[in-house]
Subunit: 173 residues, 2 copies
């Protein structure tokens, strides 16, 4: 699982590592959905990734140091996937990707509220979020996975998302 390194350009290298259909989507689910198990990533994903692709991407992301894998003490067969410092520092990039997508692509209201808040919050919010992520992924990945350690920023983003979704459900049905 190695980069080919067609050139040392930062943009090219980033594309060699993250330039595919699924890598950033998986990191997004771990980061913003706090999905830490294979099953959660597989079935609770909006986009319906195939299990073989998910397995391959997780392996690949591990080999690049973007996620780590840890045995879940509560279930000997469960693994906990966590972000690393490298993937936590993708937060500003996600903010820009979300901002651009909201502006130029046909996003849905509920799924874009988090991107909107992240854009509005700017660097101060990103820093706060990254600090949270360090706690639930690096300092205490087990507590972060089982919910005993939480991210206030994530809680706010999730609450906003659920609120919009509830409003949409009420309007629709």
């Amino acid at each position: 699982m190695d980069i080919e390194i067609r050139s040392g350009c930062p943009i090219n290298l980033t594309m060699e590592v993250l330039g595919d259909r699924w890598s950033l989507v998986i990191i997004r689910d771990i980061m913003f959905g706090n999905r830490r198990h294979f099953r959660e990533l597989l079935t609770q994903s909006e986009e319906g990734i195939a299990s073989n692709i998910l397995a391959a991407r997780l392996k690949r992301l591990m080999s690049y140091g973007l996620i780590t894998k840890l045995d879940d003490p509560s279930h000997s067969q469960k693994a906990i996937y966590s972000l690393t410092e490298a993937s936590i520092q993708l937060v500003p990039m996600f903010a820009m990707i979300g901002a651009w997508g909201r502006r130029f692509l046909p996003v849905s209201e509920d799924l874009s509220i988090r991107a909107e808040l992240l854009e509005e919050g700017g660097p101060p919010l990103w820093d706060e979020f990254m600090a949270d992520l360090r706690r639930i992924h690096i300092e205490d990945p087990i507590g972060g996975a089982n919910g005993t350690v939480k991210s206030p920023v994530l809680a706010r983003l999730t609450a906003a998302f659920l609120e919009v979704r509830a409003k949409m459900d009420a309007a629709a049905g």
Copy 2:
């Protein structure tokens, strides 16, 4: 050439449009290298894209409204490829991608100086650069392609790149 839309999430949609090995690399060459012809994109690229892939990607990017194609009056068979407002607004994303790549991937000194300057310059520089790009891609694509209309920001970035490269050449040879 349509998106499948597996979900309305801004990050997912952006990956459906730009999440592949080559799209952003091609836009990078048009944006930072001011390569406006097929041949330039094909042969002056650091990474050596295949001609069929380049043709397919240009067509795809056009269908998404990220580039436009224009007949070159100086040569009836030449086409000029230009950025659109949507791709010009990728500048902040490129800045973040470059910054992340510089921090976590084995970039080369010469090819990362532009990313460094773009990161240091921050939003004021990005805005200035985007204003330049609007002039040489939207307002006067022909003048922008043949060099009669120039981007001061691009000139600074290119000068810095050439300076670093000259220094490296001197040290090596």
